[in-house]
């Protein structure tokens, strides 16, 4: 437990020392989402229809952008090896890194998302559902992404490879996450989609750290 807290604190401290890197992913998210209304035109009906999907796709891409460095920086300076040799389980290490990634990159996304939603004419309850779906969905992105980051560790061109490996795994999150918001817009309600998203979160919380730890071990051999 203490180890978990230390790993999370460490990554947050490092992120505060390197704010430029941290802001890149957030700005990317804002810019990608803002391009769509400019390109498609101001028709409110169209914008409302594509809004949830666009925000969710941009969230996936912004997560991937920061994901390739989750383990790569620590691998380069040797701190990852030292952490792997600590007396604690590597599964806790992978879990801590994923949680830290979510706090650093996931939470800002879900804070910015409602503001961007306004650009697409989403309002009121729909914005709340958008935030809620991102709040359940972005931890899944961090957890699954850590598997890809661990698998591609030390490979040249790892950044592209991680996208190819992980985007297919993100598909269910995208479908249920954007589906929840679209369901609310259509008046069907979001409960079914959000429940499935929640189930997916529990599943990835159980499995992803374990898979990441195994992948790290293989990558470091």
């Amino acid at each position: 437990m203490k180890f978990l807290a230390t790993v999370i604190q460490r990554d947050i401290l490092l992120a505060t020392r390197r704010r430029g890197d941290w802001l890149t992913a957030q700005f990317f998210f804002v810019l990608v989402v803002s391009m769509f209304p400019l390109g498609i035109g101001p028709d409110p009906a169209v914008l409302r229809m594509i809004g949830p999907g666009v925000i969710w796709v941009a969230a996936l891409l912004a997560t991937l952008l920061s994901m390739s460095r989750l383990y790569a920086d620590d691998h380069r300076d040797g701190t990852l090896e030292q952490m792997m040799l600590s007396p604690y389980s590597n599964i806790v290490l992978a879990l801590g890194k994923s949680i830290a990634h979510w706090i650093i990159n996931g939470i800002p996304l879900l804070v910015i998302a409602p503001l961007l939603g306004i650009q697409f004419g989403l309002a009121g309850k729909v914005l709340w559902i958008l935030m809620l779906s991102l709040a359940i969905g972005t931890p899944i992105l961090s957890l699954l992404g850590s598997i890809g980051a661990a698998l591609t560790l030390g490979l040249r061109g790892g950044g592209v490879l991680i996208t190819l490996l992980i985007l297919p795994l993100y598909v269910p999150v995208l479908i249920f996450g954007a589906g929840a918001v679209e369901g609310t817009l259509a008046g069907i309600g979001a409960e079914a989609n959000l429940s499935l998203l929640g189930a997916f979160l529990v599943l990835s919380l159980l499995l992803a750290p374990w898979v990441s730890a195994t992948a790290l071990k293989i990558s470091l051999e």
Partner: protein
């Protein structure tokens, strides 16, 4: 304490060494020798548990190191080629953080005195990225002093150090072994170890 039986190591398709046995007890040092690319680093990584050997097993106090990660992680300290310090953090922060990640508390005074002992008293509060390569190496070695580990596994500890740094490491090694500690090290330099007579092991000849 530390024993290894019939270790073999393969890299790619190539066999680096085969049927390597070693035993190390308290108050003993072992120097691993061998030419470049003959498996010194691979051997050390196997001994500290980062890589799995192609065959054979490493035991700590009679228990396989894979099963004994919790005790072995506390009693073993590994200094790799890379220094294992974060450039964004100061040497002090680095030391406190690595101690906490190993489940130890480290108070500021101990950390400061270890850094001062290694000649880093003036740069404790600077970000590590402005330090020279040799100074970063010294931060890593200061971490070793405070780690309280029984077994030190050192991969080329002298890289980047100046003359006084080398003398300091030699003194650290002598003190550690005299206090009953164990050391496994690779180095291309001849170490001045005084009365201490380390065992030696040459890897890669049989392959």
């Amino acid at each position: 304490m530390l024993t290894a039986n019939n270790l073999s190591c393969e890299r790619g398709e190539r066999l680096l060494f085969r049927n390597l046995n070693l035993e190390l007890n308290e108050g003993e040092a072992l120097l691993v020798r061998g030419a470049n690319g003959h498996g010194k680093t691979s051997l050390l990584r196997i001994l500290c548990g980062l890589s799995a050997p192609a065959s054979g097993e490493v035991f700590w106090c009679g228990e396989s190191i894979r099963a004994a990660k919790e005790t072995y992680g506390k009693e073993m300290a590994y200094v790799a080629h890379s220094n294992g310090i974060k450039e964004e953090l100061t040497p002090l922060e680095n030391m406190v953080l690595s101690a906490r990640l190993c489940g130890r508390g480290l108070d500021m005074e101990t950390a400061e005195s270890a850094l001062a002992q290694l000649g880093l008293a003036r740069c404790m509060d600077l970000p590590s990225r402005v330090l020279s390569f040799g100074q970063r190496r010294r931060v890593t070695l200061a971490g070793l002093l405070t780690a309280g580990a029984l077994l030190w596994i050192l991969d080329e500890p002298l890289t980047g150090l100046d003359v006084s740094g080398v003398a300091m490491v030699e003194q650290m090694i002598r003190d550690h072994v005299a206090a009953g500690g164990m050391i496994i090290a690779t180095t291309h330099h001849a170490l001045e170890l005084g009365d201490l007579k380390p065992k030696t092991l040459t890897v890669g000849e049989s392959a």
